[in-house]
Amino acid sequence: MRGLADSLRGDLLFGALAFALLAAVDLGLGSPGLLDFTIRFATFALLALSLNLLIGVTGLVSFGHAAYFAMGAYAFGLLMQTGAWSIPAALVAALAASALFALVVGALCVRLTEIYFAFLTLAFQMLLHSVILAWIPLTGGDQGLMGGIPKPAFLGIDLARQDHLALFSAFCLIASAVILRQVVRSPFGAALRMLRDNPDRAAFLGLSVFRYRLGAFVIAGTFAGLAGVLMSLYVSGAFPSFAFWTTSGEAIFMIMLGGISVFLGPIVGAALFILLNDRITALTDHHGLYMGAILLVLVLGLRKGLLDFLVEAWRERKERRS
């Protein structure tokens, strides 16, 4: 696995550079708006990136990915509110809760493909949503987790400070991106791509389609849970809207904006989506109308994300030259 080790070194270097750049810009300018953007960007980029492991790599279109996002947020929020947990311990426990939930739902869902899979994941997400709404003593129902989340400092990191939280979120995003890229490039990732392109052949070769898909589902769910933890740190609470289908829709929207076939596509898409969303919200109340229209133009006109488009154009140009 020399190739993998080399690529890991390259990814780590790239990740460290990206983090240094983000940190320098954030701390250098130090504007509250920029810090706020960094946290939201890191959260949603992580959500979209984890979802693309299913959509882009494995070929499973999940429309219920926000379920694990909400699971991470609620698990983390509830544990921190007990006052007995430190942030790293609660974070790990929240990831475990998301992973477990993804394992159970995934075991039912990954038997199906295509539209059945999309709707079944959506159905389980809406089940979680209705459980959150109904289980008022635990979750606070439609009010969400109220009363704030205590953020005791650990290792000199005080997440109650906006700048620390921004850097922490950026670190989580970049570390997760490095790990996910290693997953995608590993033999496991190659098997997932084969499942996407030709599941029958994969089955003939003796791969357990079920296990590989379930593995991808759990990994994606776990990283979505991390995004949920960041979200609950950002808003100091957790709300049922995290588990609503629109959150999953937005994550797919981000992937579509940025690009499906390029690893960094979802990250670019998340940045574009947040900028677009803020601009439209500032301009008009009819947010859905404009976002819907943009989505239609994108899907029916371009039929792919921005990075997909650029990478393909670049490849074509290179081919024409040679």
Binding site: L108, Y116, L122, A123, L300
Partner: protein
């Protein structure tokens, strides 16, 4: 859990009559939505994620029609036909461009339609809950059968939805158009080669499917509150119905709709907080035991 109350209810005839009649009415309304969804899927191979929004628009149009004329019949006709036109526009302008594209494209286009329709409804009718109330002409004393109460309006709803279901069964089973549609579901290329304009056929089928959702929305406007975003829960329910019944099977959808309707009406007595959960449990059981659904043709 109030399982004792459920047992009490099941052991008294009057309560059973009341709950069964309510369950059948809810189930038949659900069937109208789900049959539209399954018809579109069976023929066009497209899962119309915007189907719940069509239901919602149907309810709003009925509200407008009722406000303008005071006639419930006009209101339902306005809702159903208005949504048929809306469906036709969506199909011609948007969805027809992505036939044969992957699931992601279908989901995204439908998602965009949902976003736009929710906002349009909000602009026209406002974001608050609206309610139509049972029309005066249909406010009659309830039927009493074996001590059980069947509200007059529920009985009317059941008859109307059953009539629509029979019409649908007759249209699909006995008419030339229905035979052509069924043939197109199996082998569209052959149907096109025999000289049928499949583009127009798809558009009409989509409009009929949308009309069924619109009719259900219009019919249930008097008994449910009408609010933007109301489409999602009915979409999920009718999806559960199509999974339980088997994708593409109208008969399966009927059976599953009635199962869900009865689960809802009896569940509201026995386990009010877990009614939604119960539907998922039933769906999960069907998926595990018979993944293609009760009457499924194609393996999922």
């Amino acid at each position: 859990m109030e399982l004792n109350e459920l047992l009490d209810c099941v052991s008294t005839l009057s309560c059973v009559v009341t709950q069964v009649s309510a369950g059948l009415t809810i189930g038949m309304l659900l069937f109208l939505v789900a049959s539209g969804l399954t018809l579109i899927f069976g023929v066009l191979g497209l899962v119309n994620f915007a189907h719940g929004s069509f239901y919602m628009v149907g309810a709003y149009l009925a509200l407008a029609g009722y406000g303008a004329t005071g006639s419930f019949i006009v209101a339902v006709a306005f809702g159903a036909l208005g949504v048929a036109v809306l469906g036709l526009l969506c199909e011609r302008l948007l969805l027809s461009r992505i036939y044969g594209a992957d699931v992601l494209m279908q989901l995204l286009v439908c998602y965009a339609i949902v976003l736009i329709l929710d906002d349009v409804v909000k602009i026209v009718w406002g974001a608050d809950f609206l309610s139509m109330g049972v029309p005066d002409s249909l406010r009659q004393p309830p039927f009493i059968v074996a001590g059980g109460i069947i509200p007059y309006f529920y009985a009317i709803l059941f008859l109307v939805t059953a009539a629509i279901a029979l019409l649908l069964a007759w249209g699909m089973g006995r008419t030339r158009f229905g035979r052509t549609v069924r043939a197109a579901a199996v082998n569209p290329a052959m149907v096109a080669a025999l000289g049928v304009n499949t583009t127009a056929l798809y558009a009409v089928v989509f409009a009929i499917g949308a009309m069924l959702a619109g009719a259900a929305g219009a019919l249930s406007a008097p008994i449910r509150s009408v609010v933007p975003g109301a489409g999602v829960s009915i979409l999920i329910e009718s999806f559960i119905v199509t999974v339980i019944g088997g994708m593409g099977s109208i008969g399966g959808a009927l059976a599953a709709s009635l199962i869900i309707g009865l689960t809802r009406s009896f569940g509201s007595i026995g386990f009010p907080l877990f009614v939604e959960g119960m539907m998922f449990v039933i769906m999960a059981l069907v998926l595990l035991l018979k993944p293609s659904g009760l009457a499924g043709r194609r393996g999922a």
